[in-house]
């Protein structure tokens, strides 16, 4: 079982009213997409997240098919707008 800390930023934090949520996934081979599906079920407002948000695991951008591991920090990132 993988316990993942999911972090929401900027507009996504507004949509969910949440900055951080703990999500547990039973599978040994869970992906970002799996965590995202769980988040949509368990976090109110998360249904409004886009179908394919930018994601980062432990501060590195990853694709939605990347594997998550127990203890990972998964960040969901609105379109970047630095500068």
């Amino acid at each position: 079982m993988a316990r993942v800390t999911v972090r929401f930023f900027a507009r996504y934090a507004e949509l969910t009213g949440c900055e951080s949520a703990a999500v547990s996934i039973a599978s040994d081979a869970a992906t970002v997409a799996d965590v995202l599906a769980r988040v949509r079920e368990s976090v109110p407002g998360a249904q409004q997240l886009p179908a394919r948000p930018l994601a980062a695991i432990n501060r590195h951008q990853v694709r939605l098919d990347a594997r998550v591991q127990d203890g990972d920090e998964l960040a969901l990132l609105p379109p970047l707008a630095g500068g």
């Binding site: 930023f9 900027a10 507009r11 980062a56 501060r59 960040a75 970047l80 630095g82 500068g83």
Partner: protein, 134 residues
């Protein structure tokens, strides 16, 4: 040098960090909040830990590509009023070609890669996230 700050950016400190007697050309880029469309300020937020890691990576890339250049940057977060700088990038090099190129490289990468977001604030109290599909 702290790369993320909630205070006004002090360009002099950035210059001091990169200039030196062997570096005759310095290029500075300042991005300031524009008054477009009744915006009075922009509220910048970041995934701080990832932004800092990415800034370190970017500065390392610039240094690898222009080994004689010294580069630094500072991004301001929080509510920044129109006219004030949200970002400053400074590149000093022996010659101006490298200074311009490194500075330009960094601002382009900053815009593409830093996990930073902006919410435009208007006089009428409305607010809009920048770059969001609506």
């Amino acid at each position: 040098m702290t790369h993320l700050t909630r205070e006004p950016i002090a360009v002099a400190a950035l210059l001091a960090a990169v200039q030196g007697d062997e570096r005759g050309g310095t290029c500075v880029f300042l991005g300031t909040v524009r008054s477009d469309d009744h915006v009075t300020a922009i509220d910048y937020s970041a995934y701080d830990e990832m932004a800092l890691a990415e800034i370190t990576t970017l500065l390392g890339e610039a240094h690898a590509r222009w080994p004689n250049a010294r580069v630094t940057l500072q991004h301001r977060l929080g509510v920044i009023p129109v006219g004030e700088a949200s970002i400053a990038i400074v590149a000093a090099a022996p010659h101006r070609d490298e200074a311009f190129a490194a500075c330009r490289y960094l601002i382009e990468e900053v815009k593409q890669r830093l996990p930073i977001w902006k919410k435009e604030l208007r006089a009428d109290g409305s607010a809009t996230w920048v770059g969001q599909p609506t």
